[in-house]
C-alpha cells in the first residue's frame, strides 16, 4: 500500500532556536516541515513549492511581518491555510488576520491546543480560520 504523503508545513520565524523548536514539535507529529528564517527565504521557497499550511510569526526580520508572507501565499493559492503566531495581542492584528482568514495564536501558545488546531485545519483544509487561543 502506498505510504500516505505527510502534510507539508512551512514555518517562518526569524529566531533560529524558536524555528527549530517548532520544527521538532511538528516533525514529532508526523508533518514534513520546511523552515524559513526570513520573509525573503519564505518568498524563495514559496515560489517553488505549495504547502498544506503556512505558519508564521508576526514580527520578522527588520520591519517585515507575517502578513507579507501570507499575502504571498494567498496570491498563489488563496486556499492554503495560514496560522499567525504573535506575542503582541492587539485588536488591529486580530481583525486584520480574521479578515484574511488567518488563524491567530498568541504566545505563549498552549502546545496541545496548538497541535490539535493545526490537525483540524489540515483535516478541513478549507482555509477557514480555526478558533484561536486567546491567552
Amino acid at each position: 500500500m502506498p505510504k500516505a504523503k505527510k502534510p507539508q508545513i512551512l514555518v517562518v520565524e526569524d529566531e533560529a532556536s524558536v524555528l527549530l523548536t517548532y520544527r521538532l514539535m511538528l516533525e514529532d507529529q508526523g508533518y514534513e516541515v520546511f523552515c524559513a528564517l526570513s520573509s525573503h527565504e519564505a518568498a524563495a521557497v514559496l515560489g517553488s513549492r505549495r504547502f498544506d499550511l503556512v505558519l508564521c510569526d508576526l514580527s520578522l526580520e527588520q520591519n517585515h511581518t507575517g502578513f507579507e508572507v501570507f499575502e504571498r501565499v494567498h496570491k498563489r493559492d488563496p486556499k492554503v491555510p495560514c496560522v499567525l503566531l504573535t506575542g503582541y495581542a492587539n485588536r488591529e492584528t486580530t481583525e486584520r488576520a480574521e479578515q484574511a482568514g488567518i488563524t491567530v495564536f498568541f504566545k505563549p501558545i498552549e502546545i496541545d491546543e496548538f497541535l490539535q488546531t493545526l490537525q483540524t485545519i489540515l483535516r478541513n483544509s478549507h482555509g477557514k480560520p480555526a478558533k484561536a487561543n486567546r491567552n
Binding site: A16, S17, V18, L20, T21, Y22, L24, M25, E27, C35, K107, P108, I109, E110, I111, D112
Partner: protein, 296 residues
C-alpha cells in the same frame, strides 16, 4: 552546472582553521573615448568575454562560442596577455542552462592548456579595441592575478549532515540536554511552551557548536593540501559547509585523497559533495566594466 564533475567522496578528519586568503579583486575600468582610435562597432555586434590568459600570440579554440551559432572562440591580445572572446549579436545574456553551459564549456576547454582568470557570466564588450583598452589599463593587476593563479585549480566541497540523527545523538550524549529532556518528560512538561522553547534553544546551541566543530575539522584536514580556501554561505538547513579550495594542479591527487579520507571518517554522519576542477571562480573576482567618459 555544479554537478558537472562530482567526485567520489566518502572519507576522515583532523581539524583546521580556515585556510589562508581569498585572492580576489574587483577591477573597474574607466577610460575616455579617445585613447585608442575608435573602431566602428562591427555589424556582428559585441564580444563576449570568457576569461583572460597569458598568450603572446593570437589563439583559436574552436567554434563553440555562446549563443548557439557556434561562433569561433579566439583571443584578443595585448602584449603577453589575451582575452578569450567570441562574437555576439546579443549584449545581455539570460543565465539559461544552455548559455551557462556554453560559457563553462569554453572556460573548461581553455583551462586544459592555460591558467585562466574566469570572467563573470554575461561579460560583453562592444569591440576588440575596447577589450584591448581594458587589458592595457589593468595589465599589471591581471598579470599579478595570473601569476597567483598559475597552476592552480578550484574544487568545491559541500557538506550536508543528517540533522535528525545528530539531534537524537545529542539527546543521549549531551548531558545538559539529556537531563533537561528527562526532566520535562518526568514532569509532563512537554506541552509547556517555555519548557519546549528552552529545550529547543539548548538543542539549537548544541547543533551550532557541533556543526562548527565539524567544519573546523574538515578545514584542518584539508589545510595542508590546498593553497587557500573560501567559505561560502551554506544553502538550506542541511548544509553545514559550502567551501571552495584552491589547489596546486600537481597536488590534485593529495587533495582528492584528503577529502576521501575525511569523508570516510565521518561515514554516514556527513555527506560530502565534492566537485571540480573548476577555474578559480571563488578566488578571482574580477568584473570588467568599461565606463565611457568624456575627454577633458
Amino acid at each position: 552546472m555544479e554537478n558537472r564533475q562530482r567526485r567520489t567522496a566518502t572519507k576522515a578528519p583532523k581539524r583546521a582553521a580556515k585556510a589562508d586568503k581569498n585572492v580576489a579583486e574587483d577591477v573597474h575600468v574607466r577610460i575616455t573615448e579617445f585613447p585608442v582610435p575608435p573602431e566602428p562597432a562591427s555589424a556582428q555586434g559585441g564580444r563576449y568575454v570568457y576569461g583572460i590568459i597569458e598568450a603572446k600570440q593570437p589563439l583559436s579554440f574552436g567554434k563553440m562560442g555562446i549563443g548557439g551559432a557556434g561562433e569561433p572562440v579566439y583571443t584578443v591580445n595585448f602584449q603577453d596577455i589575451a582575452a578569450i572572446v567570441s562574437k555576439t549579436s546579443v549584449y545581455i545574456f539570460d543565465p539559461t542552462r544552455e548559455n551557462a553551459l556554453a560559457h563553462e564549456h569554453v572556460i573548461e576547454t581553455v583551462m586544459k592548456t592555460h591558467t585562466i582568470i574566469p570572467m563573470s557570466f554575461g561579460t560583453v564588450f562592444r569591440t576588440d579595441n575596447d577589450i584591448r583598452e581594458v587589458l592595457r589599463s589593468i595589465y599589471v593587476s591581471l598579470k599579478d592575478v595570473l601569476k597567483q593563479m598559475e597552476g592552480k585549480l578550484e574544487f568545491g566541497l559541500k557538506v550536508n549532515w543528517d540533522r535528525d540523527r545528530i539531534i537524537e545523538e545529542l539527546k543521549d550524549a549531551d548531558e545538559e540536554i539529556r537531563r533537561f529532556h528527562q526532566e520535562i518528560t518526568r514532569k509532563h512538561l512537554q506541552s509547556t511552551y517555555f519548557a519546549r522553547m528552552q529545550l529547543g534553544r539548548m538543542i539549537d546551541k548544541a547543533l551550532s557548536e557541533r556543526s562548527a566543530q565539524y567544519v573546523r575539522d574538515i578545514y584542518e584536514a584539508l589545510r595542508g593540501v590546498c593553497v587557500a580556501s573560501r567559505d561560502n554561505k551554506p544553502i538550506g538547513d542541511k548544509m553545514i559547509m559550502n567551501a571552495a579550495f584552491l589547489v596546486e594542479r600537481d597536488r590534485e591527487r593529495d587533495f582528492d585523497a584528503a577529502v576521501n579520507k575525511i569523508a570516510k571518517y565521518y561515514g554516514e554522519l556527513l555527506n560530502f559533495k565534492y566537485t571540480g576542477p573548476w577555474p578559480p571562480y571563488n578566488f578571482v573576482n574580477i568584473r570588467l566594466k568599461l565606463e565611457r567618459g568624456t575627454a577633458s
